[in-house]
């Protein structure tokens, strides 16, 4: 009576050899049925290994699953649901699993004890990185990482429920049934692909019938309830704050299958029931790691669930009566005083030797050293389990469990089926659920006599996955690593992919014996999420490649793309960097043309990415006075003003212009980069600092398409589009004017006479949906002037020519004084940052000041980031005079121009010094000039 469907055959390969299994098999059960007992090599000694467990507990059977070009390492063969075409390979062996040259390590084991890396590879020091570490990494280790992108899709989802039940064994099923019948919204997360837990493996009767009958009935009823959701193959890996649980659902193990391979769920649960079961413990006796030595529960699982016999002659070695349901030929009960002192058989077990000298021929040794409740998830919120002497196990500490969590079944130490149902009923009553009729079960009470390890000069394995033996633990103690946390890190006990599922408690017991303390005094290490491994791909979900972050496109994007635009990423935005026209050889050709066209006729630039904040209310002006260094309450409606904003520590935060559309209505612009943080800052000021002001804010960055139209022909071009009734002549609409207007026959628009380039310029904004139409209209009407669209490079070149500070200058380290804007700071009013901007170190007369720089030899280029050193000083940091922050080729001046911060720079006009750039090995003699290279008096702005 097994759960595999023998009529349905599935073909698979292991290490290249073809095998057949059945539907319902795991890779492990299919391999064992085919007679494959040797499935892996151990981490350090390369010892031959077979399966120890039959499920999530197995430390030995780690394999790679292969896809077309990639493979996934470190997967437990015992949890891989067999599928047609599965291609699996063993790990950590060379050249083959049967013959592994590094098995020599097993003979060298006296030199490979705990901490041997630290002791052996001390010197020469330089050898660690180049020689020792690479060699050790090749020799020791589990799977290999393939340096290829993961071809699979991963998804994420969010679920809400009244009750999350973790575990689909008898305790979980019973609680789910009670909760479901009581009308609760239930999620049942079961890490196996079959519901039933130990009922699938153990010969148990419920209501005088095989337990599987009860399981089938229960599943049918649960699946019939719409408010109960069963998540198969879903492992809850973490308990987080306020009822949030992380879970990983495996949809398929196949690589490259259509759809999502795994789903990472974030589950919001009002309460939870932990029914995670328990894990059987091995016993540490000499050579207890040979293929064929297994946990008794694993032998039962393979036998009953999968119909696979693990051996022809099975011996049972146990210390508790739970193991007695294992079918065996010979029984060795530690309570009789007999125990195993050695085993033989290199690649498979042949025989065992007992302490009374008896040698028994056996090819399967089923061992049981007791049970460890799976308490891990109870500890993610700082709870520590407590030792229970009677059951010889750690139990959850009910006083400090995560809020709203109840633990039932074997996870709470209920090791018999009667106790499991009792605990589920008790929990149901505690949660006000109708407990229903308790299923009828029988059997003896649980009995155990602790038995941890057999003392010997030979090696007895404790942690099978990291090759830690009881000798390593006693050695660690002798060398002073006696606290559990030190022991763990020194020996690597419990640090492999299974996180010590089978080994931790045995290790603690061996340590406790060595230190003469009790296990309770010794305590456990801290359990942290994730309880089970979660692939990074699942955390990333769909957020990879171009979907790693959102992309924002400007209103002119389509037009620009059609016209040779090269785009640059600016935050989430893709902005036009320049537009390449036929015949242009490199980016400089395009950028120079854009600058020259703009300065000589007219150029258009998409400035929609600038942050736009709509500010309304009676106190808007007063509010702006607080956030800007200069005064805005006196600004007349219909006018704009440049504003500089400080952080409270006095450092410049952002700059931009604000326009006053009416008495109680302003529109602020911010830089592209700071649009979000400025808005957050303004909301902080509004709600937290000045809550009594009548002022309201809303971001309208996305709502307006805004174009800068710059150059001597800017007005003539605009006049072709602006509706007749709006007079935009220089007299009616002077520099720094703003107005609500209409364009193109009635389309609502805003016009601002602002200039970043230094030319006669306007910014025209229309509702976003007209952005594409407007850029096409502007370019068409601009044809007669030879108008061009220009990108961020030309924008940058022109602002440097004009001496405007931008991101390179507002870099989070500069004050208004440094920027040459000290005069902007109003003396009549307070503003955010004003008090601390006056700190001694920030107002030093000889502090950094923004200056312009030109190369003395006009043929030399300037480099950004170069440091200034006085002519005859040594070129070392001690003599640093400041640095170059922005450079550009000026098509207007036919030379490079730069902006930089120079100590006492405002008093050093005309000085010559060196711009020293060791990174590019480029040192240039530069002359200090005004930062306003082009049109210093601003005449072009006002014509």
């Amino acid at each position: 009576m097994s759960l595999v469907d023998e009529t349905q055959k599935l073909n698979f390969t292991f290490d290249g050899k073809a095998y057949q299994g059945h539907a319902g098999d795991t890779l492990a059960s299919a391999l064992l049925r085919s007679g494959v007992k040797l499935v892996g090599r151990s981490f350090k000694y390369h010892r031959p290994r077979g399966f120890l467990g039959a499920g999530t507990d197995d430390p030995n059977g780690l394999v790679e699953i292969h896809g077309k070009d990639v493979c996934e390492p470190n997967r437990q063969a015992t949890t891989i649901k067999l599928f047609e075409g599965l291609d699996a390979k063993s790990q950590n062996r060379s050249p083959s699993l049967g013959f592994d040259v590094l098995a020599i390590n097993d003979w060298l084991s006296p030199f490979l004890s705990a901490g041997f890396y630290y002791k052996t590879f001390m010197w020469p020091k330089a050898f660690w990185e180049k020689v020792y570490e690479p060699a050790i990494r090749r020799a020791a280790g589990l799977g290999r990482l393939i340096q290829e992108p993961d071809p699979d899709h991963y998804d994420k989802g969010f679920l809400h429920c009244d009750l999350l039940i973790i575990g689909g064994g008898p305790a979980g099923l019973m609680t789910a049934l009670n909760a479901g019948r009581s009308g609760k919204r239930v999620i049942l997360a079961n890490d196996d692909f079959e519901l039933g837990g130990r009922l699938l493996s153990d010969p148990i009767e419920i209501d005088d019938a095989p337990a599987l009958d009860w399981v089938s009935k229960t599943i049918v009823e649960l699946r019939s309830m719409d408010h109960v959701r069963v998540l198969d193959r879903t492992s809850v890996y973490g308990v987080f704050d306020h009822g949030i649980y992380g879970a990983l659902e495996t949809k398929t193990d196949k690589i490259g299958a259509p759809g999502a391979r795994m789903v990472l769920w974030k589950i919001y649960a009002k309460s939870s029931v932990l029914a995670a079961g328990a894990t059987e413990r091995p016993i540490a006796f000499p050579n207890n790691d040979r293929p064929g030595i297994m946990l008794a529960s694993a032998v039962r699982t393979f036998q009953n669930r999968f119909g696979v016999n693990c051996g022809n002659a099975t011996t049972l070695f146990f210390n508790n009566n739970n193991a007695l349901s294992t079918i065996s030929d010979v029984q060795i009960d530690v309570r009789s005083g007999r125990y195993v002192i050695d085993t033989s058989g290199r690649k498979a077990l042949n025989s065992i030797t007992l302490n009374d000298g008896t040698e028994i021929s056996t090819d399967c040794l089923a061992m049981s050293g007791g049970w460890n409740p799976n308490v891990h998830l109870t500890c993610h919120k700082r709870s520590r389990p407590v030792w229970n002497e009677e059951r010889a196990c750690f139990l959850p500490d009910t006083a400090t469990l995560p809020p709203e969590m109840i633990v039932v079944g074997a996870a709470n130490g209920a090791f018999t089926i009667s106790e499991v149902f009792e605990s589920a009923v008790t929990a149901s009553i505690a949660m006000d659920l109708n407990p229903g009729k308790t299923p009828k079960t029988q059997g003896p009470n649980f009995e155990i006599q602790p038995f941890w390890h057999v003392k010997s000069k030979k090696r007895s394995w404790v942690d099978f996955q990291n090759d830690v033996t009881s000798k390593d633990i006693t050695l660690a103690h002798q060398e002073g690593f006696s606290s559990v946390e030190h022991l763990k890190r020194y020996t690597t006990l419990g640090m492999a992919t299974d996180q010590g599922r089978t080994s931790n408690v045995v290790g603690l017991a061996v340590l406790a014996e060595a230190t003469g303390k009790t296990i309770a005094e010794t305590g456990t290490t801290m359990f942290r999420p994730p309880y089970t491994p979660v692939p990074l791909g699942a955390f990333a979900g769909a957020h990879k490649g171009q979907h790693f972050k959102p992309t924002r496109l400007t209103p002119s994007h389509r037009y620009a793309a059609e016209n040779g635009a090269v785009f640059v990423e600016s935050g989430y935005w893709k902005r036009t960097q320049w537009l390449q026209r036929p015949g242009e050889q490199g980016w400089r050709d395009s950028v120079d043309r854009e600058v020259v066209t703009t300065r000589s006729s007219v150029g258009i630039c998409d400035v929609s990415t600038l942050g736009k904040i709509d500010i309304q209310g009676q106190d808007s002006g007063k509010f702006l006075n607080k956030v800007y260094v200069n005064t805005f309450s006196t600004l007349k409606p219909g006018r704009c003003r440049y504003g500089l904003m400080l952080r409270e520590d006095g450092i410049a935060m952002d700059d931009g212009t604000s326009a006053r559309l009416s008495d109680s209505h302003y529109v602020m612009t911010t830089t592209t980069a700071n649009a979000v943080s400025v808005f957050r800052h303004l909301e902080f000021a509004r709600q937290c600092l000045f809550p009594d002001m009548d002022v309201h804010l809303i971001s309208t960055t996305e709502q307006w398409a805004q174009y800068s139209i710059a150059g001597p022909n800017a007005r003539r071009l605009l006049q072709k589009l602006v509706d007749q009734e709006h007079d935009i002549s220089n007299e009616a609409f002077p520099y720094m004017a703003c107005a609500n207007i209409t364009v193109c026959g009635g389309t609502r628009a805003r016009l601002f006479r602002l200039s970043f380039s230094g030319e006669l310029a306007y910014e025209l904004a229309v509702p976003r949906r007209y952005g594409d139409a407007l850029i096409r209209a502007l370019m068409k009407e601009g044809e007669e002037f030879g108008a061009c669209l220009y990108g961020t490079e030309a924008l940058g070149a022109m602002r440097i020519e004009k001496g405007h500070a931008a991101g390179n200058e507002l870099n989070g380290q500069t004050t208004a004084t440094h920027l040459g804007l000290g005069g902007f700071v109003s003396k009549k009013k307070d503003c955010i940052g004003k008090v601390l901007s006056q700190r001694e170190g920030l107002i030093d007369d000889n502090g950094l000041r923004l200056v312009g720089l030109k190369s003395v030899d006009p043929n030399q280029n300037l480099t950004n980031g170069a440091h200034f050193i006085n002519d005859n000083d040594p070129r070392i940091a001690e003599h640093d005079q400041g640095h170059m922050s922005s450079v550009a080729w000026s098509p207007e001046l036919h030379c490079y121009v730069g902006l930089g911060f120079l100590k006492g720079g405002d008093k050093r006009m005309g000085d010559e010094l060196w711009a020293v750039d060791f990174v590019r090995d480029h040192h240039v003699k530069v002359k200090v000039v005004s930062p306003h290279f082009v049109d210093p008096d601003g005449e072009r702005l006002r014509v």
Binding site: D241, D649, E683, F684, P691, D830, L836
Partner: protein, 88 residues
């Protein structure tokens, strides 16, 4: 974490931006004689309690309210949430 927004009910903390100690609400008087000293303390000196802490959170992916939470920094238990603008 889940934050019980006074206007919007329970919301995932991922919707919020954390700022820090709610003492940032108490901006000193810029006209005070020792204003620089007061602002220095206001901006740079913070308590770092293991236990109850009043702190500012901004519902950026929501209604843009600034909230004051009383949160236990050890257990993450949130015992009180209020709108910052109502706290003055």
């Amino acid at each position: 974490m889940i934050i019980h927004h006074p206007l919007l009910g329970p919301r995932d903390s991922a919707e919020f931006i954390y700022l820090g100690d709610a003492s940032l609400m108490e901006r000193p008087d810029p006209k005070a004689e020792n204003a620089q000293e007061l602002f220095y303390k206001y901006l740079y000196l913070r308590d770092n309690p293991a236990g109850e802490h009043k702190e500012l959170w901004y519902h950026e992916q929501g209604d843009r309210s600034w909230l004051i939470l009383t949160r236990n920094t050890v257990t993450h238990e949130i015992t009180h949430v209020e709108l910052a603008r109502r706290s003055k």
